[in-house]
């Protein structure tokens, strides 16, 4: 009897925390949906919303805080249509504080069951919410929660494009499509899940990783290793992985800044001016961008050895910058050619100098493409192996660190360690890529379109 009550209590806590989890989830998203649908005409607010989207989704309270700030600035427009009234924010704050018990569940209940219940509850809550939601206002962003879309699909008064006549042909095509999509998802997800599972597995050999992940036997040992193990014998030395991470961070940040400044200058020059030798320079750049930088590595190695720049991040930064300017120049040039020249002419008539035109007129309009370049330049160094392994033989970057664990001939061979380090590195990159995909793909194509 007592056991039963105990179990019941646990399940009730599960259900409550699942519900809270769901409400919080919906809350952050509805905040964003609200802003975007009510301030359609206001470019400023939308621009902010773009960058805050990820934060709203993943940082507790960020939605509420951000909403207040934005409301202060663009109040009159935001107040037109609102689903969640701003004065409810305090309530949500309290809800989030109660949300903490959900995490404590891990301590006294089987994690697998807890997670299952929590997610089941949030799915059911989603279905219930879907019955009452104002579809037209939200449909664009609600598909972030597939549950809601499904709930709307079940409704009698579902929007017109949900209603269609079913024929045998359509059913067959639909079933085949879903079968194909599910198959593809399995193919895509299997290695990824295996990787996640490996990173939580005890041991060093691949054979020890089970095919079907067994959550109850997962351990954080690999991650703890990752952040504590150091090869130097000094006390208080920075762990190897963290050191490699910081080195790469320095290189990535500095090369990002340099690449953005330099390639937007060069792109501006090539898109706006005619000058002697322009075509020759463009052709040279086109040739250069097709070859990996390591083809000149022999000379670079000697050069840096001569000037004692080996093992210095600066050396690597300079190579990355020089290597990525040609490609980025084409991208920026393609984008800037689409900015009408009449803007420049107007600025010229108003007495602006070349530099002023660039800073006050072109740069603000070219922010999207510069963002694209910045993301690319920042990502590049993280996973380049060849150059750092030669130019910085005694100082690891993350990629070199990772590769060391993948070399079967080396003493440190340990694929599971590789998986842990790689996963820790890949997750933030994945999140950024998935949520910024529209801009990244746009950038990729805008350069190609115009040659």
């Amino acid at each position: 009897m007592k056991q039963k009550i105990n179990l019941l209590a646990k399940v009730i806590i599960c259900i409550i925390s699942g519900g809270l989890f769901y409400i919080y989830w919906l809350y952050s998203i509805s905040r964003r949906a609200n802003i975007l649908t009510t301030s359609r005409g206001l470019i400023e607010a939308r621009k902010h919303a773009k960058w805050d989207f990820i934060l709203i989704l993943f940082v507790p309270f960020y939605g509420a805080i951000w909403y207040y700030n934005t409301e202060k600035r663009f109040g009159q427009i935001l107040n037109q249509k609102q689903i969640v009234k701003p004065d409810h924010s305090l309530l949500y704050l309290i809800v989030m504080l109660v949300f903490v018990p959900f995490l404590s569940l891990f301590a006294f209940l089987d994690v697998t069951i807890a997670l299952f219940v929590v997610y089941a509850v949030s799915v059911v809550s989603g279905l219930i919410t879907a019955c009452f939601i104002d579809y037209d206002m939200h449909h664009h962003y609600l598909s972030i929660l597939p549950v809601l879309e499904f709930g709307i699909f079940l409704r009698e008064d579902r929007p017109a494009h949900f209603v269609r006549r079913l024929t045998v042909r359509k059913v067959v095509v639909g079933l085949l499509s879903y079968a194909w999509l599910i198959l593809m998802c399995v193919i895509v997800l299997t290695p990824v899940i295996w990787m996640v599972s490996a990173s939580f597995t005890r041991g060093t050999q691949l054979a020890e990783v089970p095919i079907i992940p067994n959550i109850s036997e997962w351990t954080l040992a690999n991650y703890i290793d990752l952040f504590t193990k150091t090869s130097s014998s000094e006390a208080g030395a920075i762990p190897d992985y963290v050191k490699a991470f910081l080195t790469t961070l320095i290189i990535a940040t500095s090369s990002m800044i340099l690449v953005v400044i330099m390639s937007s200058l060069v792109g501006f020059s090539f898109s706006r001016y005619r000058f002697k030798g322009k075509k020759q320079v463009l052709l040279t750049m086109l040739g250069l961008q097709m070859f990996p930088s390591f083809m000149g590595m022999l000379a670079l190695f000697m050069f840096f050895r001569q000037f004692e720049l080996l093992n210095k991040p600066l050396a690597l930064t300079l190579i990355y910058v020089a290597g990525s300017i040609p490609y980025n120049t084409f991208v920026v040039r393609g984008f800037m050619r689409n900015i009408p020249k009449s803007l420049d002419e107007a600025a010229f008539i108003d007495g602006a100098s070349n530099l002023q035109t660039l800073i006050h007129i072109i740069i603000p309009l070219a922010v999207p493409i510069m963002g694209f370049i910045a993301v690319n330049a920042f990502m590049g160094p993280w996973l380049d192996y060849i150059l750092p392994s030669v130019i910085m033989p005694q100082r690891d970057t993350v990629a070199v660190w990772l590769f060391r664990y993948m070399d079967p001939l080396s003493a440190t061979y340990s694929p599971i360690k590789f998986m842990t380090g790689a996963l820790f590195l890949a997750v933030p990159i994945m999140i950024v890529q998935v949520f910024m995909q529209r801009y990244l793909v746009y950038g990729l194509t805008s350069g190609a379109e115009k040659g």
Partner: protein
């Protein structure tokens, strides 16, 4: 004249093929026409223009001396001393930087040289040993650089020279230390390039001194410092903002590439170690080896064919799968589009190197996911037989008898490794095209489909005549870019298979095996080049360099052809 030649040649090419009527003939005719107009005529015109320009140059000089002797004198001033003509023109703001540049060059030369010792030493040694290499012993950065560039060093460790033994490195007496060909070549390139820059400045200063004086005489006004600065800032803004990038590219991309290029004409291999041996200019010897030896040709042929096949297949398969995915997700039958899209985009979001190495683990011999799954299902033998039937797994695959399938490591399973590389590349690459094509599908106006509906078109007809042409037109340039990208896609090979499996030992000719320079079965050109130059037991720098030049020619041709189609590249707005 050239125009008529071009016309005739073009018509000859076209006519020949028009009579044949074969489509392949037409294609070759077009390529021939292209090669002729773009390359042969291009090279011809290039040299013709150079000769013409040199001729014009001297003609102009004589004309200037005759018509404007006073201005010509100013130019002559700068000819003898850089910046002197500017000073006579009373343009100190031009004279000082130009003169300063010359001074810096001379200072570098003198400070790195030891000419001051020359007189004493010559009188001491000359009677006995003779001064063998003056620039080597006393020259500064520039003179020694040029000497080094042309000779690539003369003296190695242990040589007797002027009564002393040559040592590895002697800070005090440079002539006592052994020559190092790579350093000499590198410094030589930098010295020559810097001298070229000085030369260009010199020509510029002469022209400027002449032109300024001429202008002052005509207008009677001398440009003041402020106006000069303003004019430069406004008129040369396009140049000024690209200077920092140009300098970076110059030193960190162009000069290293130039170095690699020149290595092809030497006999530098890893065997020539520091100080003990020197390498020499052998000009086209390495090319001769590559193109006359059947063994090397065969390897090169194998690698080239596989590179082309890989580049082609990896672009086409990726495109097709991306298209299928995009169409299925965007079709009306599918709901939760965003959900599917986010999952199917994952391979694109995971950094390439990580997913490639992940697949290296998935296809690992022991404990890899694939082998584990097959073993658990008890399907290993069935799959092996199936692969054997396809011809991907060799008949004499002895190791495979042990149980696991050796996906990427057995010399008998070259075909399997190649197939896997293309499949993994497909996994990695399709999301990009999926996103691209999804974007294009969104831009096709709905009214087109409605019109087709009214005309009674079926779904497949709509796809064939509306969707496909629109998608193809928008994405065709990207396919070509993907092809050239994959041609040099070093990571896809190196991180997944490392170029392996190697060829069976009996298939590798002795002359290649001695050097250890054989490619793996899945090596593409660029990864073979990497192995040739950076694998510590191989280090065939000159061979690697020759193959890079071949890649350069190949890709350069493809790029120029691609560009000649893109009008927007050439037209100015």
């Amino acid at each position: 004249m050239t125009v008529s030649v071009k016309k005739i040649a073009g018509s000859v090419f076209m006519k020949k093929n028009a009579t044949k009527g074969f489509s392949i003939g037409k294609v070759f005719g077009k390529i021939g026409h292209f090669l002729y107009t773009r390359l042969i005529l291009g090279v011809f015109n290039f040299f013709k223009n150079i000769v013409q320009k040199i001729f014009d140059f001297f003609k102009n000089i004589f004309a200037a001396a005759k018509n404007h002797p006073k201005s010509f004198k100013r130019g002559l001033g700068s000819f003898f001393l850089m910046g002197f003509g500017q000073l006579r023109n009373k343009q100190w703001y031009k004279a000082i930087p130009i003169f300063l540049m010359l001074t810096v060059f001379i200072l570098i030369e003198i400070s790195t040289s030891s000419y001051i010792y020359a007189i004493g030493e010559i009188s001491t040694y000359a009677p006995r040993e003779g001064i063998l290499y003056f620039f080597r012993d006393y020259g500064g950065f520039f003179t020694k650089g040029i000497w080094g560039f042309f000779t690539l060093g003369k003296l190695v460790l242990g040589d007797a020279y002027r009564g002393q033994m040559i040592v590895v490195y002697d800070r005090i007496m440079t002539w006592k230390s052994a020559d190092n060909s790579q350093v000499l070549l590198g410094e030589g390139i930098i010295a020559i390039v810097l001298i070229l820059i000085l030369f260009i400045t010199w020509i510029f200063s002469i022209k400027d001194a002449y032109a300024t004086h001429l202008k002052v005489q005509e207008t009677g006004k001398l440009e003041t410092f402020n106006i000069f600065i303003k004019r430069v800032w406004n008129d040369y803004f396009a140049y000024i903002i690209i200077i920092p990038s140009a300098v970076l590219i110059f030193f960190f991309t162009l000069i290293p590439f130039l170095f690699s290029f020149l290595v092809a004409f030497t006999n530098w291999t890893g065997r020539i170690s520091l100080g003990e041996m020197l390498f020499k200019w052998t000009f086209f010897d390495t090319f001769k080896l590559v193109f006359s030896s059947a063994e090397w040709l065969q390897f090169f042929g194998d690698v080239l064919v596989w590179t082309l096949f890989y580049a082609l297949m990896s672009s086409v398969t990726v495109y097709v799968l991306g298209l299928i995915q995009a169409i299925i997700i965007e079709s009306k039958a599918v709901v939760f589009k965003k959900f599917w899209r986010i999952i199917l985009i994952l391979p694109w979001a995971i950094p390439g190197m990580i997913s490639l190495m992940l697949f290296r683990n998935v296809f690992a011999d022991n404990g890899g996911l694939m082998n584990q799954v097959l073993a658990n299902l008890g399907a290993t033998e069935t799959v092996k037989d199936f692969l054997k039937m396809l011809g991907l797994v060799g008949q004499t695959d002895l190791e495979a008898g042990l149980g696991n399938i050796l996906w990427l490591t057995s010399p008998q399973n070259g075909g399997l490794a190649k197939a896997l590389i293309i499949i993994v590349n497909l996994w990695l690459g399709y999301p990009y095209f999926m996103m691209l094509i999804t974007g294009v599908l969104g831009t096709i106006p709905e009214s087109l489909y409605e019109a087709a509906q009214i005309d009674g078109a079926s779904e497949s007809q709509k796809f064939r005549f509306i969707t496909m042409p629109m998608v193809l037109r928008a994405t065709a340039p990207v396919i070509i870019t993907t092809f050239t990208f994959n041609f040099n896609n070093f990571g896809a090979i190196y991180f997944l298979s490392g170029g392996g499996p190697g060829y069976p030992i009996d298939q590798i000719p002795q002359s290649v095996r001695v050097l250890g320079a054989q490619p793996g079965q899945t090596d593409i050109l660029i990864s073979w080049i990497y192995k040739l130059s950076f694998r510590s037991s191989v280090n065939q720098y000159n061979l690697a360099s020759v193959y890079s030049i071949l890649i350069f020619i190949f890709i350069g041709l493809a790029a120029i052809y691609n560009l000649s189609k893109l009008k927007s590249f050439w037209e100015e707005d």
